[in-house]
């Protein structure tokens, strides 16, 4: 067995160890590499930027569960920071039963950081079970589905929701989800009611959403931690997204090096095999 063959059959635990080390190192030695903004992110940024201040609210559906938190929470924070710094009102809700605490956490963190007042700048509608039924119901009247906010206040007593009846009064809706919720908003809010929908999804889901961008069913898209990092760049507030990108760089390069080494070993081993065959013949 020559070195190539041995490398071909390398115990994959060495690969695991290399990945483990590669992800930890940038936590201690940040690289701070610049992030290039892509078009779907820019489009979402522009759509939010065009919402008139202190008027009809942005509807932010924080639909993620804990499993996709590291990718999607930086998006929530960046979007909320952008909205609040433009004085855009925000109504937050969630369609995921496990999303309640996460939505509240992101909302409260940014609201506190930027001195926003509950009810006058933002509000939290909470969770309602049933995905399509909730989305379709809101198209008729939001109050049918959410008669009161998450803390029991009737919606009519929340100033920023004054005069907000259904999607006609929502300039933009953004769903952040690691599952099919973002698609459900497209199907049940955009399709029947023409609501402008933007989405933030995990990087793996982003590929599924490209067709929707192309057909105009989505106004913009944030894909994974990278999307969050780009948005953080646009609003000039670097956070977990940009920090995580350093670890990403290192691991991506590591995997590519592994693939290249694997191929060198593959061809090396194949050549040796051929030589042996020739010698045998």
């Amino acid at each position: 067995m020559n070195i190539f063959e041995r490398f071909m059959e390398i115990d994959r635990r060495w690969i695991f160890l290399a990945i483990g080390i590669a992800v930890i190192i940038p936590f201690f030695f940040p690289l701070g590499l610049p992030v290039v903004v892509t078009e779907p992110v820019q489009n979402l940024y522009d759509a939010l930027d065009e919402i008139p201040p202190n008027g009809q609210p942005l509807l932010l559906a924080i639909d993620y569960a804990p499993a996709t938190l590291p990718e999607l929470e930086p998006m929530s924070l960046a979007l909320l920071r952008h909205a609040f710094s433009n004085d855009v009102n925000v109504a937050v809700l969630t369609l995921h039963p496990a999303g309640y605490g996460l939505a509240e956490r992101a909302m409260n963190q940014v609201a506190e950081e930027m001195g926003q007042v509950y009810g006058e700048d933002y509000c939290f509608l909470g969770f309602q079970p049933g995905i399509s039924a909730v989305i379709l119901g809101m198209g008729v009247n939001i109050r049918n589905v959410f008669p009161e906010d998450a803390y029991g206040t009737p919606l009519s007593e929340i100033p920023i929701l004054d005069g907000v009846r259904n999607y006609d009064d929502i300039p933009l809706l953004i769903s952040l989800a690691g599952w099919s919720a973002a698609e459900a908003w497209v199907y049940y809010a955009h399709q029947p009611y023409g609501q402008d929908v933007g989405a933030g999804v995990t990087a793996v889901m982003a590929t599924d959403f490209y067709p929707y961008l192309d057909t105009g069913q989505l106004v913009g898209l944030l894909g994974g931690m990278r999307g969050a990092a780009e948005y953080e760049g646009l609003i000039d507030h670097h956070d977990a997204g940009v920090r995580g990108m350093d670890s990403q760089s290192v691991i991506h390069i590591l995997i590519i090096i592994l693939i290249v080494l694997g191929n060198i070993a593959y061809f090396g081993a194949r050549r040796k095999k051929r030589e042996q065959e020739r010698n045998a013949a």
């Binding site: 590499l33 992030v35 496990a98 990087a203 490209y210 990403q248 991506h252 995997i255 590519i256």
Partner: protein
């Protein structure tokens, strides 16, 4: 009779839901909404079937002292604890013991299992991406371009080149065109497959899910 009734129900309900899409009349949509609600309740009610199966399998393991029966005790006892916290004596609100168990045990366990994928994706790439044939080369090349184009370090590699030669641009191009075309093809093909099968389900030709024919 035993076979016809469920098939007739399937047909009627299926056709009604099909019609719902085309008829804006609120009588239809509210009846459809009601039926959707029923569906979710049926599924919610089924959970006991599953948990019953789980209990049976683990109970057998424990009573027969099969290999690993100690772990079965773990499963059964934490389930009992969760039921106790969330059951009639407990509450499931924020800050309750039930919620704490969920947030501090189940959530970290699940997300850690999810994150194992970071390791597995590397080992799968190492093993499978070989320049063996035209097809596997295409797989490898597009994967490498996209991997480089997605991260800042890859972007630095082609900085200064005209835009059409930079890795992020190439990545966007691959994602937006060939990738989209391929996925649109799969999506359309699969949609037709789903529709043909859905139609067979409504018409009662397909009935494996009811547990076979007889």
């Amino acid at each position: 009779m035993r076979r016809e009734i469920p098939l007739a129900i399937t047909f009627l309900v299926g056709m009604f839901m099909l019609v719902d899409f085309f008829v804006p009349h609120h009588a239809v949509s509210s009846a459809a909404a009601e039926m959707k609600q029923w569906g979710t309740i049926v599924i919610a009610a089924s959970i006991l079937l599953g948990v019953g199966n789980l209990i049976r399998v683990h109970y057998k393991k424990i009573s027969r002292k099969q290999e690993g029966w100690g772990y079965s005790i773990v499963t059964m006892s934490v389930m009992a604890i969760m039921l106790f916290f969330g059951g009639p004596w407990g509450t499931i609100q924020e800050g309750s013991a039930f919620n704490w168990m969920f947030l501090n045990v189940q959530v970290p366990l699940q997300s850690t299992m999810f994150s194992l994928l970071a390791f597995f994706i590397a080992s799968a790439a190492y093993r499978a991406f070989r320049l063996r044939s035209v097809e596997s080369s295409m797989l490898l090349i597009s994967a490498i371009i996209v991997m480089l184009g997605r991260v800042p370090l890859g972007q630095l590699l082609t900085r200064g080149l005209p835009e059409q030669a930079t890795l992020p641009w190439l990545t966007e191009m691959i994602m937006a065109y060939p990738n989209m075309a391929a996925f649109r093809g799969i999506l359309m093909g699969a949609a037709l497959g789903v529709m043909a099968m859905g139609l067979r389900v409504i018409l009662g030709i397909e009935r494996s899910y009811l547990g076979g024919d007889k």
